[in-house]
Amino acid sequence: MSNRMQVEFDAKSVNEGFARVAVAAFLTQLNPTLDEIADVKTAVSEAVTNAIIHGYEDREGQVYLSCEISGDTATIIVEDKGVGMRDVKQALQPFYTTKPDLERSGMGFAFMEAFMDDMEVESVLGSGTKVTMKKKIGAKEDVD
């Protein structure tokens, strides 16, 4: 089975909630556990927040979110056409943040990695960032 959805929305913080709920609703067809849905919602929230705060630096822009189901795997892509990153490897380090003044914890990518099975980041300075995350749904029964 394969199925795909795509949404585009303004880079406004109020849309962070919309984005994670949209993905969660789309994934219900895979009969996910509550824990799996919570993991995906957290990861989507991190990626979309990054696009808004870092990609567009709170300026206007569009965030592109897509979710594709293929078999029991969900692939979620969050993309912005913002400033991009010079050094992706550095950005992936836990606690690394370019915005300590905003009290960003520097845990965004670490959370995406922790809660999803796979994550890839492509970024081009001056043209934007694309985060691709995958998670197998129904991969494990809840232990305990």
């Binding site: 919570a38 929230s45 705060i53 009290e103 960003r104 670490a110 959370f111 809660f115």
Partner: protein
């Protein structure tokens, strides 16, 4: 926003909102800092009883307030974490920084 502050004898309990993300974290930080400063709060409790969702923005809220309280020698703790919020605390290491009851 469904966030409430209870103050008593230098102690403030913050009833955290249903969802703690970047969007509602900003206002929460501002309000909490104002109250901490104005009422000389010595003990701060984050109450997560009503919280169903939190991302790393919430970590920033808690750590930021710890720093703020630290300057005045105050104490910070977190209460009523559901399984999900506990997971967020553990993954971020926050449970090692503040007292969780």
């Amino acid at each position: 926003m469904d966030c409430k502050y209870q103050l008593k004898d230098g102690c403030m309990r913050i009833s955290m909102p249903k969802e703690v993300d970047h969007h509602n974290a900003e206002q929460l930080k501002k309000e909490a800092d104002l109250l901490i400063g104005a009422y000389h709060i010595q003990k701060l409790i984050f109450d997560f009883a009503g919280t169903e969702f939190m991302d790393s923005s919430g970590i920033g809220v808690v750590i930021g307030r710890c720093k703020h309280m630290g300057y005045s020698g105050g104490e910070v703790s977190a209460e009523h974490l559901n399984e999900r919020i506990q997971k967020i605390f553990v993954v971020s290491g926050l449970h090692k920084i503040i007292k969780v009851t």
